[in-house]
Amino acid sequence: MRSIVEQDLGTPAPKFRNVGRTTTTAPAAANKTVMLTIDGREVEVAEGSSVLRAAALNGIHIPKLCATEQLDAFGSCRLCLVQIEGMKGYPASCTTPVAAGMKVSTQNDKLAALRRGVMELYISDHPLDCLTCPANGHCELQDMAGAVGLREVRYGYDGANHVYAKQQGEDNALFVGKDESNPYFTFDASKCIVCSRCVRACDEQQGTLALTIQSRGFASKVAASQDETFMQSECVSCGACVQACPTATLSEKTLIDKGQAEHSRITTCAYCGVGCSFRAEMKGEEVVRMVPNQDGHANHGHSCVKGRFAIGYATHSDRIMKPMIRAKISDPWREVSWEEAIAYAASEFKRIQAKYGVDSIGGITSSRCTNEETYLVQKLVRAAFGNNNVDTCARVCHSPTGYGLKQTLGESAGTQNFDSVMHADVIVVIGANPTDGHPVFASQMKRRLRQGARLIVADPRRIDLVRTPHIAADHHLQLRPGTNVALINSLAHVVVTEGLVDEAFVRARCESASFEQWREFVADAHNSPEQMEAVTGVPAVEVRAAARLYATGGNGAIYYGLGVTEHSQGSTMVMGIANLAMATGNIGREGVGVNPLRGQNNVQGSCDMGSFPHEFPGYRHVSDDATRLLFENAWQVTLQNEPGLRIPNMFEAALDREFLGLYVEGEDIAQSDPNTQHVTAALSAMECVVVQDLFLNETAKFAHVFLPGSSFLEKDGTFTNAERRISRVRKVMHPKSGYADWEITQLLANAMGYAMNYAHPSEIMDEIARLTPTFAGVSFARIDELGSIQWPCNDAHPDGTPTMHIDEFVRGKGRFLVTEYVPTREKVNAKFPLILTTGRILSQYNVGAQTRRTFNNQWHDEDRVEIHPHDAEERGIADGDWVGIASRAGDTVLRAQVTERVQPGVVYTTFHFPESGANVITTENSDWATNCPEYKVTAVQCTRVSQPSDWQKRFRAFSDLQQDLLNKAGADVFAAK
């Protein structure tokens, strides 16, 4: 069912399709219009529009059932037929394109009779329980029955049908019972009109192709995979079919439970870096369902299982609603007033600073916070704490992107918008798993691949994208973990030595000295694919073929993820990618570029907002006197000109007893950061840890002050996604704990003696815009006007910047950097012969604090260790066995999943459950430039075991104790069950 407020124009806006080098560079058929007459009215619409769309755009509503703007025209229901002067018969208006001078009649007696006949047939095989049907109030079938004036069904209900389980006492073979296997929606086949909208949504929009129309004629029915239940099938529960369904056949369970929403508000998803736009469909302050926004600039009406369905955490009974304090982490929690909690936190921070110095405290922001919240936390640290000890979780994911792209291109951000992929001819995916990590963008990418774009995947693991329905990678460069830089250098070697450099681009756009130095470096024989094969494990012929394809196949676009950044050479690899894109001229226009896929919703934004200890908002170094003076004047305070501590440095400093107070907003370092035991030792050494979160997360178990935060549904603000797109988060209900997060930070600043007096988050954004040149044109009003804005947005780019570096790079000339491959010091040996690498899964999100508190656990309820059959057999490990995984940092136990997705010598796991202890194993090795942890390479041994690890036993005991200490605070602190 579509949103309650969106108008469905029936068919999509006309699209320009382009595949191959010659057509991509041809201009799109831009802004050409056609004049025609519909029901006597002259109308003007874009060339390529359907007659159905042309009519709808002009307020003329032609009845329709199988057509929806979400999908390509199909022409099966025969309800939208019209008469066109000079044309024979009654063409379907959805499949008939407009033509100049066309004269269309949408209503006359003949058409009415035909439509009534069609509807009569539909309704003869449809239940008549409209009054108690969940679609009631928003059912397209019911609306059409009304529109065509259906008054009787002459065929009766005694014949063959799909409606009744029994007929004349006998079982009805055509009847299929309700499928309620999916936790979020039901499939009631008795209400199905076989319009194929669900099947087409799964094909065209999601690209999973899990649904089909089974059988022929009257026996036709919708089936999931091989006529399985939805949960058993290949369905990924994106919900596109539910949204496409015109009847109650596919309905959200929350809709069935609560009834139709009465209002709708546009907001932005709080999960991954795609940043999908949603309509929160509400009954008062209660969410009935989330519907992806058809006008959403990042997602165009699509979503995934997390964004659409997994919001139950926001009202979960684990949520803590009252502030709490305790003197020691072994003490029970005590519920206190907001005043007391804030006063206590401030007095502790002041006490620690008085005793250990001004630099002994700091703060951590999160990519799960809005821009306004992160801005305020870094302002609190710099202005109220008086130091630069502020960092954000991007430290442990994309900090190398910020560093590497700034060094080469001049700006710490991706170069394109998502739609750019529709102009790409060769798509290169490196160290990213979009179908799991960025599913909605993956759907768009798959759409382009089905149109014919070529695909190169560089990943140690056989991710789904390597081979998926209607898509196969031309090259899967299955490299050994930790050898990215060796691979990118050998790709560059081929480009340089085989004369594939875009010399004109390099000459015009890049520094010639740095290019020549780089060219000489990569051309050296030691970087050749043949010599690097021993390092990377990738056959040289594959590398050569992939390099030729990228350099000569038309528009080449690189998409990368944490498989690039979370390495000891993460920053080097980012530079290597930028080098390759510049050398082949694949930057500065649509369809190309260097595109980091950000893990969390606001990774880009939290970095933009000055969350790093060395930078003010807008990536300006704290030692830059002019910038510092600007902030000193605005904030009326003296600021430090030296960088502060980064997150891992904070832990070291805590163990040195130099850093003893920490304010953490929305981040769970005790689960997400590497070498858990080191992190928890550091947290235990601190004298005041203040955690602001929805739940008593792993970090909060080491906290002294707990400040209950607000979910994204409870506050106003903005998120900035992976394409630099700033979108509004809109409050749809009041903060359940009393304050929105920005208000809590403000209270803390005031208690520390630094005055903050914002009345609304829009005032914070106004301040950001005043102080940050790339945000100069951004305001809540302007975002409301445009829908979303991609920064830079200023006088030069008043509507924002979809593609960066068009005529020149942000830094002027593009800079090539020499990227020598340096092997990680994390080496396999006889004791630790396997390499562990980590990643994510579709249904869970990051540390899982949100998704573990939803039905998404039905897809993934524990982290497993993937191991190749060969390695498993050597160790006597069978699928499902308990496996002990030991590294130099620690050990844990997980159940085995024996699979050829991983190569021999490599094991893989996810980190969504704290008791898994994935980060007990990972080490403190980190990226040389940014200290981003080397999560992706840990030398381990795996053995078959029969019980949890010692760490897991200690973890369980400690968690039980902390739960007990929490329960002592009383039932009032929890959300109502």
Binding site: F521, P613, E642, L645, D656, S926, W928
Partner: protein, 91 residues
């Protein structure tokens, strides 16, 4: 790496800083840059991204012999210390 670089349980002391500085030096030594040429890049990186406390610790460790530090890292520390001293003198 000498044991003297370690300072206590759960804590790697200067050893970790030495590893980090060497990793930075390894990048700036790319393409056969001599240690002297690489040292400028290393010193600049330490100045821009390291908290002063970390820099001071590593400089102090360098004065104690700096076991385990690569040549480029060692040279960078000398440059860093000289630059800090002249900046302080200027104030």
């Amino acid at each position: 790496m000498s044991e003297s670089a370690h300072q206590g349980p759960g804590h790697k002391g200067a050893a970790h800083l030495v590893e980090m500085a060497n990793d930075i030096a390894a990048f700036f030594s790319g393409a056969g840059h001599a240690p002297a040429a690489a040292a400028d890049g290393v010193a600049d990186h330490l100045r821009k991204f390291w908290d002063p406390r970390m820099r001071r610790k590593l400089i102090a460790y360098g004065h104690q012999g700096g076991a385990g530090l690569s040549d480029a890292a060692r040279l960078a520390l000398v440059k860093l210390e000289a630059a800090t001293a002249s900046a302080n003198a200027a104030e």
